[in-house]
């Protein structure tokens, strides 16, 4: 650790001297031999509002939450870092600067839930505190407080009171204080001390001689590129997982034992079952057949003297098959006692009677009668209607 020599800046912490170069004023840069410096205290101004402070020049702006988190949150807000203009103008050319608060933000973005971080710098006589309020990795508020310097006996006490007050407003929050603040005494030993390690990844930049700090261009391209990569992987990842889900849905669906039982999925099976259903439901002509036969026989048996020799009933033609008009549905052979009338006349009589009794339209078949001993046999035919 010899690179970071003895600190010429007396303002930083007491016992365990921080070996990092914290600067809070231009004066401290006069004999400054190092290549890098971390700006703290009055040399910087941090705010969540874009206010132009007199004597301060804009150093950097960043989001109030981490890059990743920022993708999911609408308008997380911004943090504006400004540095003392004098310092900017008077700084040696080859020194690169960073702001301690930058690292404080990194700590806060990583911390879950509610968190309060006290940062800043203590001198012998006064301590400039910056209080950072975080919620779920987003900076929500920023306040400045001033308490005694580290040499004062009331240093820790005042800090304790302040912390109690803060906790009143945000109960259950994680409270911590960071380098380069001077350590509190044992009464506050429960409060976590965030040490120099948070400064490890600070980015140091070259402050321009002019007020306009030209710096971040190098960071921006990388940022944009990373964003592109991120979106690509997110989109791909999202698309991929949706696809995977659809495949597993399919697997689930097809695994159903019903599918196996049915021997696979196919339209023809459903059709077949439908047709089976129709077949079973269709009005059964043969029932009509049987019923009509019965009713015919009964009707005719009531007619005195008519005897049925043969009664043939055919199933009425179904609507699809072509109706053969000549073939009658009903064909009957009856016999009656021969009367004095001619066969034809008697036949007509019989037809009328039978028609009246059965409601059927009958006619005599061709050569539809003959005499057999004492009886006359007629062959009649007819159709069902509907």
């Amino acid at each position: 650790m010899s690179i970071f020599n003895k600190i010429k800046i007396k303002k930083t912490s007491s016992d365990k001297s921080s070996s990092l170069p914290f600067i809070s004023s231009l004066a401290e840069l006069t004999d400054f031999k190092k290549k890098r410096a971390i700006l703290v205290g009055n040399s910087v101004f941090v705010s969540m509002r874009n206010v132009k402070m007199d004597g301060f020049a804009n150093f950097k702006t960043r989001s109030a939450t981490s890059l990743i988190n920022g993708l999911f949150i609408k308008e997380p807000g911004k943090v504006f870092f400004s540095v003392n203009s004098e310092l900017v103008r008077g700084a040696p050319k080859n020194i690169h600067f960073a702001i301690a608060a930058d690292a404080y933000l990194d700590w806060g973005f990583k911390t879950k839930g509610s968190a309060i971080l006290l940062g800043g710098v203590s001198s012998e006589t006064e301590t400039n505190l910056q209080v950072f309020f975080f919620e779920d990795g987003i900076l929500v508020n920023l306040e400045e407080r001033s308490i005694q310097g580290y040499l004062s006996p009331h240093y820790s006490e005042t800090a304790a009171t302040l912390i109690d007050k803060l906790l009143e407003n945000s109960p259950g929050a994680t409270v911590a204080y960071a380098a380069p603040l001077a350590r509190f005494n044992d009464s506050l030993k429960d409060i976590e001390y965030v040490d120099d390690r948070i400064f490890r990844y600070l980015k140091y930049i070259d402050i321009n001689v002019n007020e306009k700090v030209q710096s971040t261009n190098i960071k921006v391209p990388v940022g944009i590129a990373l964003l592109g990569v991120l979106i690509y992987t997110l989109a791909l990842g999202k698309g991929w997982s949706i696809y995977q889900n659809s495949i597993s849905d399919y697997d689930e669906s097809i695994k159903d034992p019903i599918v196996k039982l049915a021997g696979g999925v196919g339209g023809s099976l459903i059709d077949k079952i439908e047709q089976q259903r129709f077949f079973m439901l269709q009005s059964r002509n043969q029932i009509v057949l049987a019923e009509k036969t019965s009713s015919l026989v009964n009707a005719i048996s009531k007619i005195r003297e008519v005897r049925i020799t043969d009664m043939s009933v055919q199933i009425p033609a179904s609507p699809d098959t072509p109706i053969v008009q000549e073939k009658p549905d009903i064909k009957m052979v009856i016999s009656v006692p021969k009367s004095e009338k001619s066969a034809l006349d008697q036949g007509k009589e019989i037809l009328e009677v039978i028609s009246a009794n059965t409601g059927l339209n009958l006619r005599m078949a061709r050569q539809g009668w003959k005499d057999v001993e004492k009886r006359r046999v007629y062959i009649l035919e007819g159709f069902f209607h509907g």
């Binding site: 592109g228 949706i242 696809y243």
Partner: protein, 179 residues
């Protein structure tokens, strides 16, 4: 403003282009996967619809199996005779001389096989002749036959003026299911 390097500017532009390509590429891949997913989902959905229809028709399948006997379980004429069970309908027939006259597959109105066989029978290669003790019983028996879903009657011919009432059934068939 010396340090606003054209270098940095170029780097910025390149980064933006790179990122845009990735974003576009990402979107394209997403779209491809999306298409595949949609196709997959469509298939899965049609499978699910099929399953719905199939389940709804389960009742039909049960009814079908109840109505018709499996042809494999009807091994010979004897089995057919007991299946018909002519006596239960108040009729009698010369079952010892029962013969098969034809067999065919039943087709639906849409001309597809519905998995049903029609086995037609006669007595001594003539029509199927049934008898009963009285005409009313004969007629009743014919009605009973007609009501059997697994039996088909094509036409009926009542023979009158016989000592013993009888009827001829032309086209007397039995339906058996194939599976």
């Amino acid at each position: 403003m010396g340090k606003i390097g054209s270098e940095n500017f170029i780097r910025l532009i390149l980064a933006i282009i790179f990122a845009s390509l990735l974003i576009v590429g990402g979107m394209k891949s997403f779209k491809v996967l999306e298409k595949k997913t949609n196709a997959q989902v469509a298939v899965t959905e049609s499978i699910n619809r099929w399953k719905q229809s199939y389940k709804a028709l389960q009742g039909v399948i049960v009814e079908w199996d109840k109505t018709y006997v499996k042809s494999a379980s009807v091994r010979d004429i004897r089995a057919i005779i007991s299946l018909i069970d002519i006596r239960s309908m108040g009729l009698s027939a010369d079952m010892d001389n029962l013969v098969l006259t034809s067999a065919s597959q039943v087709k639906s109105a849409t001309n597809i096989d519905i998995g049903l066989s029609k086995i037609c029978l006669g007595i001594n290669s003539e029509n199927f002749i049934i008898k009963a003790s009285t005409y009313p019983e004969l007629l009743k028996g014919i009605e009973n036959l007609a009501h059997r879903k697994d039996i088909y009657l094509g036409n009926v011919s009542i023979q009158g003026e016989l000592a013993s009432p009888q009827a001829k059934i032309g086209d007397f068939c039995v339906f058996l299911r194939n599976e």
